[in-house]
Every structure is written in C-alpha cells, then in structure tokens.
C-alpha cells in the first residue's frame, strides 16, 4: 500500500456511490450504499497494515493539493494516530448506520436521497479528520451539517423540523466564531512571518500575547463546546438525537460529537498551549459538572432516545475533563473514551430504534421488560450497557479509570470528584437496564417479538465486538495514540516553559 492515496480514495469512493445511487433505481440504492461504505471500511482495515504505529505521532498517508497558493491554502490531508483512529471509527460507524437503515421501518420513502446523504456524510467526516489545513477542516466541519439537517428533517420523528432547525442554527452560528478564529490565526501568521497560512504545522509556530491567545482559545472553544457538547451548550443535542432516525442518531452521536472533542484536543490544546494550561482547572471542572448535570438530566427523561442522547453528553464530560488534565493518563483516557463512546452510543441508539420498530414507542415506561423474548438482543444490550457504565472489560472502563488516575496526579479531591461523576453516570445505565430487564409487562405482546437477525445483528456485532476489544485489549488502541500523546505533552512543556 506504499504511496496509495488512502484518504482521497476513502473520500471519493462514497462520492462515487452517491453518483451511482442517483443513476440507479430506488430499491437498489440501499445495496449500493452498503457496498460502498463496506468497501471504504474494508480499505480502512487493510490500511492498518501500512500504518506505522511506532511513528504514530507523525503524519502518514499524506496528500497535498494546492488550493490558493497565495494564501498557503491547500487540501492537505494526512493521519496521525489520533485522526487515524477517528477515521476508522468513521468508516465503521458509517457502515453500521447504513446496514441498520436497510432494515429500519422508518426509512421507507425517498431512499435515494437518504443513502446519498449518508454517503456524503462519510466523505465529509473523513475530510474533517484528515484535514491538516484549518480552512479545509472548517469546510468539511460545516459540510457535515447539511446532510444531517436533511436526514433529521425528512426522515425524523414527530418534532423533526424543529429539531433540524435547532441543530443547524446552533452549530452554524457557533462555528462562525471558529471561522473568525481560523482567519485570525492566518492573519497572525501573516503579521509574524509575512505570509498567510492555514496550515496546522505553520500555525503551530505562531506566537501570541496572552490576552490574544485567550481570546482565540475562546473563539475556538465556543464552536467546539457547542459541537461536543458541554453543558449548558447541549440543548440542541437531545432534540436532534431524539428526533433523528436511528442511523442519523448513530452517526451524530458516534462521530459528529467526536469532531468537537477531536478538535478541542487538536486545535485548542495544540495551537494555544499557554491558554490551555491557564484554563485547565476551569475546563476540568466544567467537564466534571457536565458529567454530573447530564447524568441528572438523563435519569429524568421519559423518552429513551433522549435518555441515550443525554447520556452522550455526560460521556462527553469525561472526554473534555480527561483531556484538560493535560497529563498522559488524562489524554489517553479522553481518546479512549471518544472511541468507546462512539461504539456504545451507536449500540444504544440502535437498541432504541430496534425496540421502537416493535413497540412504536420511545416511552421508558412502555419499554418495561421489553427484551424478555429476545435473548441475543438482550445479551448485546447488556454488554453495551455495562461497557458504557464503565465496568471492567467494557470499553468505557479505561476511559473512566484512567481519568481517575490522571486526576489523582493532581489532588485527591479532584479524583474524588471524577469518581462522583462516574458514579452518577453509572446510575442512569443501571436504571435503563433495570427498566428493560427487570420490570414486568403483560407478556402477550412480547411473545411476538423476534430476535435480532441478519443485517441488524451484523450492525450490532460490528460495534459490540470492538467494544469488547477496547475493554479487554486496550493496548491495541493505546498503540494508536501513545506516541501522539507523548509528543503533545513534550510540545506543551516546551511551549509553556519556553513561552
């Protein structure tokens, strides 16, 4: 695979799929989508063999095409360990979402458009994680809004229009701050080096005076805090997730939220080290507060999709809190949790969708005991639930455990706060599992329930297996980003001490 343009191929293949779908017959579109997303996933798996894990802090699979030479604006693509992991998550989740949609009752009209939007999302997401040029990053970051806007607005549930508006406006407006931040960095580069640049590796050399750096940090933070989301900027999320079709929620929760946390790590910490260190306590506490508040909100939900959505917010609290501990354990926890949450949230949303297809209700009370006659489904949901809760062996365990370790490096009190957060996040998962398994319901309706089969089963397995892998073989995943974390910390020390 030496010299193989992995990234552009992964971006062009889904686009090709879109064209084929537009030309093909309506009924065929789902299989075309499955084929192309499967192909991209296959390529991403094969590419694992050519990724050099020992140099995961370096950019690999690099590609560069000039866009505006005068402004040093180029389509500069490449993966280091962190973005490569996100790329694999993207291709995996895209395939899962499309596989799931083929058997979703909600998706019965305008199939061509539906699958075209999903394939487009995949292209844009790969673009987001692969961009090493901030302007190009922004372009893809914004572009992911459009397909999701349509997916929520056309195939969503009752309040779909309201949610679609809210989703779009929240993210669009907040990312305008990001745009202002990005161009300001380019201008700053011009002031210092005499030429504009949007390239990440150029901008990293910028020097700022302290207030300006703080200001820039805040501009970026507004966008990513909304996208991530951190309480109190989260209110778009339950609406968007609650009303989106299952596959839409899956992609939203699993990958779109990761754009925010990924960007916080890469851009906020990477570009503004001094401001990051300065704001560290606030950000960590903010993360913990997000965990606690979001957990409370979660338990009070009566709609199971909104329940899962709020639980996503609380997981994001771990990601943000862990990240801003700014030590090796915290960062490792944060990235692991990003990946783990991508898997568990996908599975939980699929669970909600699966039950909805049978019961036609998202009401928590209506779900009582609903998995009684679906043993396979019950097992998979249990694995997911425990993983998400942070039970050892599950994927989120490492995220939570390492956050506590990372926090302990500072003070015992901080670690204690994280533990409290983890406790609250366990509470709602247990509540969900209790409702699904232990509460009873008249059995006459449940007897007719059929278990997971075929495409839905494969979609589930595609996320549950990696979930267990993260839990039991975490070192496989640490290998992606350990070198990255080391070099980031080295760079932070250098900048903070040197500056």
């Amino acid at each position: 695979m030496e010299g193989f343009p992995l990234i552009s191929v992964s971006m062009i293949l889904p686009l090709l799929g879109v064209f084929v779908i537009l030309l093909a017959k309506e009924e065929l579109s789902k299989w075309i989508a499955v084929f192309f997303s499967g192909l991209v996933f296959g390529i991403s798996l094969v590419s694992l063999f050519s990724f050099d894990f020992s140099r995961a802090d370096r950019v690999q699979f690099e590609e560069k095409y000039a866009l505006i030479p005068e402004l040093n604006l180029s389509l500069h693509l490449g993966f280091d360990g962190l973005s490569y992991l996100m790329y694999i998550l993207t291709t995996l989740v895209s395939l899962v979402a499309i596989l799931w949609s083929t058997r979703d009752h909600q998706i019965s009209h305008r199939l061509k458009e539906y699958y075209a939007w999903f394939l487009l999302t995949e292209t844009f997401l790969v673009g987001v994680f692969a961009s090493l040029d901030l302007m190009v990053f922004y372009v893809f970051y914004e572009l992911t809004l459009v397909p999701m806007f349509f997916v929520i607005g056309i195939w969503g549930y009752k309040l779909r229009l309201y949610s679609a508006y809210k989703f779009f406006i929240y993210i669009f407006v907040s990312s305008l701050f990001l745009l202002l931040g990005i161009v300001s960095l380019a201008v700053q580069h011009y002031r210092q080096f005499g030429k504009f640049s949007f390239n990440y590796f150029d901008l990293i050399n910028n020097q700022y005076d302290f207030t300006f750096e703080l200001f820039m940090f805040l501009l970026f933070l507004i966008a990513f805090a909304v996208k991530t989301p951190i309480v109190p900027f989260h209110t778009w999320l339950p609406d968007a997730h609650g009303e989106a079709p299952t596959a839409g929620s899956v992609v939203l929760a699993a990958v779109l939220l990761k754009m925010g946390t990924y960007a916080l790590l890469r851009f906020n910490i990477g570009l503004f080290p001094i401001a990051s260190v300065y704001l560290m306590p606030i950000m960590v506490l903010w993360g913990i507060l997000t965990i606690v508040f979001a957990s409370w909100f979660t338990i009070s939900q009566s709609n199971v999709k909104r329940f899962v959505a709020y639980s996503s917010v609380s997981h994001m609290g771990f990601v943000v809190g862990g990240m801003f501990l700014l030590n090796a354990e915290g960062l490792r926890a944060s990235i692991t949790e990003m990946f783990a949450h991508g898997l568990t949230s996908s599975a939980l949303f699929m669970m909600a969708g699966f039950i909805y297809n049978r019961l036609h209700s998202f009401n928590m009370q209506a779900l009582r005991g609903s998995i009684k006659f679906m043993p396979l489904f019950a097992v998979l949901v249990a694995i997911t639930g425990f993983s998400s809760m942070g039970l050892p062996g599950g994927s989120s365990f490492w995220g939570k455990f390492l956050t506590i370790v990372g926090a302990r490096e500072y003070t015992l009190l901080l670690a204690f706060l994280v533990v409290v957060g983890a406790f609250f996040s366990a509470v709602y998962v247990l509540y969900l599992l209790k409702t699904l398994y232990l509460d009873t319901k008249e059995e006459s309706r449940l007897v007719h329930f059929t278990d997971l089969r075929g495409f839905k089963l494969s979609a589930f397995l595609l996320v549950v297996i990696p979930m267990l892998m993260v839990g039991f073989l975490p070192f496989l995943f640490f290998a992606f980003y350990d070198p990255y974390i080391d070099s980031l910390l080295e760079y932070l020390v250098l900048r903070v001490m040197g500056g």
Binding site: I68, L161, A164, F168
Partner: protein, 483 residues
C-alpha cells in the same frame, strides 16, 4: 496644468468593448425605430452578438491597461474583471426575459436598447476616477433602471416601485453631484485621485464633499439608513430586472467606492473605518432582521440583498488590500447568487396563481426537483455554507476584519448571519421537507433550465475551487493599490 495643453490622441483600443456595446445599443434603437414592432428573436441575437463580441475583445486583451481621454477613462484589470461579469450577467438576462415578459403581456422593443444603455453606463462606472464621467455613467445606469423597473405597464406595483426609485435615485444623484461640487471647490480638479491626494486649505470642503458623494452611492447600494426605496423597487420591478439590479447594479454602484478605498486608506483611514463599519453593522442587522419577518419571497430576497450590501461594506470598511480583495470577491459572488435566486422567482412567476408567497414553496422538491435543488444551492450560498462562493466571500471578509482587529464588527456579522439562517433555511425546509400543497405547472425553456443549473453549479464550483475567481480578484485588487 501642462497636461491640458499637450494634445493626446485617444487610445480607442482601450474602450473598444464599450464602443461595441454602445454601437449595439444604437443598432437596437434604430431597428426598433425602423420596424414599428421589433422582432424579438432579431433583437436578442443582435444584442447577444454585440455583447459576445465585447466580451471576446475584453478576454483577448485581458492584460490591457492604461488611460485615455486625458485621464477621464482608465482601463485596468479591475475594470476588465467587472465588465466581463457585467457582460456575462447581461447575456444571461437575455436568456430569461422573453418568456417572462410574454407571460406578463408586457413585451416591448425598448427593453433591449435600454438594457444596453444600462450596460454601457455600468461599464463606464467601473473604469473611471473622474467625477463627471462617474456622474454621467451613474445617470445612465439609473435612468435605464427607472424605466426597466416600470416596464410592467399594467402593474401598479411596478410603477409605484419605479416612482419611489426615481425620487430617491434623483436625490442620490443630486447629493453625489453636490458632493462633487465641494470636492472641485477644494482641489480645482475633477479627478478623484488628485482630489484625495491634494493638500489644500479648507479641508472641510473635501470632507463634506466626500461625505455627500458617498451618501449618493450609499443610497444606490441600499445601505441603511438610505435603503427605503430598495425593497419596493426590487419587489415592483419585473423579476428579471430585479435580478439584474441586484447583481449588475451592485457591481456598478460599488465599483467607484472600491476605487476610492486605496486613496482613502492613506488619508482618512480612521474616520473611514469607523463610519463605514457603523453603516455596515446597521445594514447587516437591519437587512437580516427585516428579511426574517417577510412572507413574500421576492421582498425577502430584496432585504437579503440589503444585508449583503452590509457584508460587502464590512469589507470596504477595512481600507487595506486584503479588504479590497474580500470586497471584490464578495461582489462577484453576490452578483451570481443574487442573479440566480431572483431568476428562480422569475421562472416561478409564470406558474398560474403564483404570488411569491413563502407557503407556495411547499414541496417544490416533488414538482420541480431540479429547480428546488438549484434554489437550495443558491440559498445555502447566500447563507455562506461551504463550499460555495458565499462562504469564501464571508471568510475573506472575516479575514479582513481580523486584519483590522474590528472584532465588534465581526461579532455583528456573526449575529447577522445567524439571524439570516432562519429565513434561508425556512425556504429550504419548505421545499424539501413539507408536503406539496399545490401542483406547480411549470413550463420552462431549455435555455432557462440550462442557465439556472449553470448558475447553481458555478456557485459551488467557484467556491470549491476558489483559485479560479481568486486569480482574477487578487491581482486586480493589488493593482488598484499600486499607483
């Protein structure tokens, strides 16, 4: 003064495209006189041939630069770029007008030559520093626009809009010429370059003159608080003409202000930045807020046009070369977006019972998918979603604001854009996510369909590969700054 004595032969090669357009106008005029009722196919082909010839002359002499008529007329890359766009827009307009006017039963031969006089006025407006030339060219464009606005003879709104436009347009020209008078009084010259670099007594004459002159242009471009005519004129005018006023008109009326920017930067930078920034902020906010509550889509787009004047003014407030680049890019971008979006309305107006009401767009995706899709692209471009030209324009304006550290204006722009999300999205939602309420009985010619799709494609293509437009914009902006 020596300059006046020496005899200079006019370098007609510099004004060849203009001469061709002028000639086309006269040919059309004569044809209309000879045949009492002109054959429209003939008129359209004569115009097209003339404009195409002018365009080719421009394109093949792209690098042409220089002054002629004793400095009354200047050709540089900026004027060539603007004129090329003006010609393209005018030619596209010809593809739309016939069926539109036919359906409105208002087909007149005057249309063609008035259009070419508007074009010639615009072409002169973008390529002179001389106050007299600017004045005459401004009048040529304006008078043509008054007539074109009123050209739906049986329609009350059309006449009302034209009347309002005439009154306020007359005011603006009066103010501009009054301002020109003060500037002449100050410097004894009619050349803006000389006036603004001249150091003389009574500096307040200059300031007063410049302010009045600029207010004249502010009225023309619909900057708040001089915008009152614009929504009515835009709504009343025949829709293809609205499109033309929004696109061609913006190019023509902004061009002299753009030419002023480099001169102002040296002498009035501070006052300029503050004043223009405040006007820009008001324009953005007012345009978007008012557009948000409109029920009539044509009026909504008219307010959106005001808002876009505000975005462009935000770039103009930064009197630096980066601001100039942003402005030129955004001007060209808006000329495409504005033209395309009003043209969509022009097509729809041929549907029986169509009144441009918001709810009539419901479910358009089902009855006219290609039109709905193109309109969506245009709306998203107006909103500034990447990768469209609108996005690149906004990013460049942000960049220039950041360059000048005008953070508050950037914040206003973010808020204004946020507000605009509401109405652009509403139309998109209606078209794609609502059930169809009425069936659209749309009859469109192949040319019109092709042009609409071409415009929406261009919006995406020029935004996704910004270098295409940028490689014209950047040198011409730098050229303006070099003297």
């Amino acid at each position: 003064m020596e300059q006046l004595i020496s005899i200079e032969l006019p370098r007609l090669s510099l004004v060849l495209p203009e001469l061709v357009v002028l000639l086309t106008g006269f040919v059309l005029f004569s044809l209309d006189l000879i045949y009492k009722r002109i054959n429209h196919a003939l008129a359209i082909s004569v115009s097209l041939v003339g404009y195409l010839l002018a365009l080719l002359l421009l394109v093949f002499n792209w690098g042409m630069e220089g002054e002629t008529f004793y400095g009354l007329y200047k050709r540089d890359s900026f004027s060539s770029l603007m004129q090329a766009f003006m010609l393209l827009l005018t030619m596209s307009l010809l593809g739309f007008n016939y069926l539109y006017y036919k359906s409105k039963k208002s087909l007149y031969g005057e249309f063609y030559y008035i259009l070419s006089f508007a074009l010639i006025g615009g072409m002169f407006l973008v390529s002179s520093y001389n106050l007299i030339v600017l004045y005459v060219a401004l009048e040529a464009v304006s008078i043509a626009f008054y007539i074109l606005t009123a050209l739906l003879r049986s329609d009350f709104n059309s006449k009302e809009g034209a009347f309002k436009y005439l009154i306020l347009g007359g005011l603006s020209i009066a103010l501009a010429s009054y301002g020109a008078g003060f500037m002449y009084l100050y410097s004894g010259s009619l050349d803006l370059r000389y006036i603004l670099t001249h150091v003389g007594e009574n500096q307040y004459f200059l300031v007063l003159g410049l302010v009045l002159f600029l207010i004249g242009f502010a009225i023309k471009i619909g900057a708040v608080p001089f915008h009152f005519w614009l929504p009515d004129a835009y709504q009343g005018a025949p829709t293809p003409i609205t499109a033309y006023m929004a696109s061609f008109g913006k190019l023509a009326f902004f061009a002299p202000v753009v030419r002023l920017m480099p001169l102002v930067q040296e002498h009035f930078a501070y006052a300029w930045i503050t004043t223009v920034a405040i006007i820009s902020a008001l324009t953005m906010l007012y345009g978007n807020l008012t557009a948000l509550v409109q029920k009539d889509v044509k009026r909504l787009l008219a307010y959106s046009s005001i808002a876009h004047s505000g975005y462009i003014l935000a770039g103009i407030s930064v009197a630096e070369v980066i601001g100039l680049k942003a402005v030129i890019y955004f001007l060209l971008a808006y000329s495409l977006m504005g033209f395309g979006s009003f043209m969509v309305l022009a097509l729809l107006e041929r549907v029986p019972g169509w009144e441009n009401k918001l709810e009539q767009f419901s479910g358009m995706r089902f009855s006219a998918p290609w039109l709905a899709f193109s309109f969506m692209v245009m709306l998203l471009a107006l909103l500034g979603i990447p990768p469209t030209v609108g996005f690149v324009g906004k990013a460049l304006v942000f960049m220039s604001l950041s360059f000048e550290r005008l953070w508050w204006l950037a914040l206003v722009m973010i808020i204004a854009t946020g507000i605009s999300t509401g109405y652009y999205l509403r139309i998109t939602v209606l078209m794609f996510m609502k059930e169809q309420t009425n069936s659209l009985n749309l009859s469109v010619s192949q040319v019109e369909k092709f042009l609409i799709l071409l415009f929406s494609l261009a919006l995406v293509l020029l935004g996704a590969v910004p270098i295409i437009l940028w490689s014209f914009v950047s040198p011409s902006a730098e050229n303006l700054f070099m003297r």
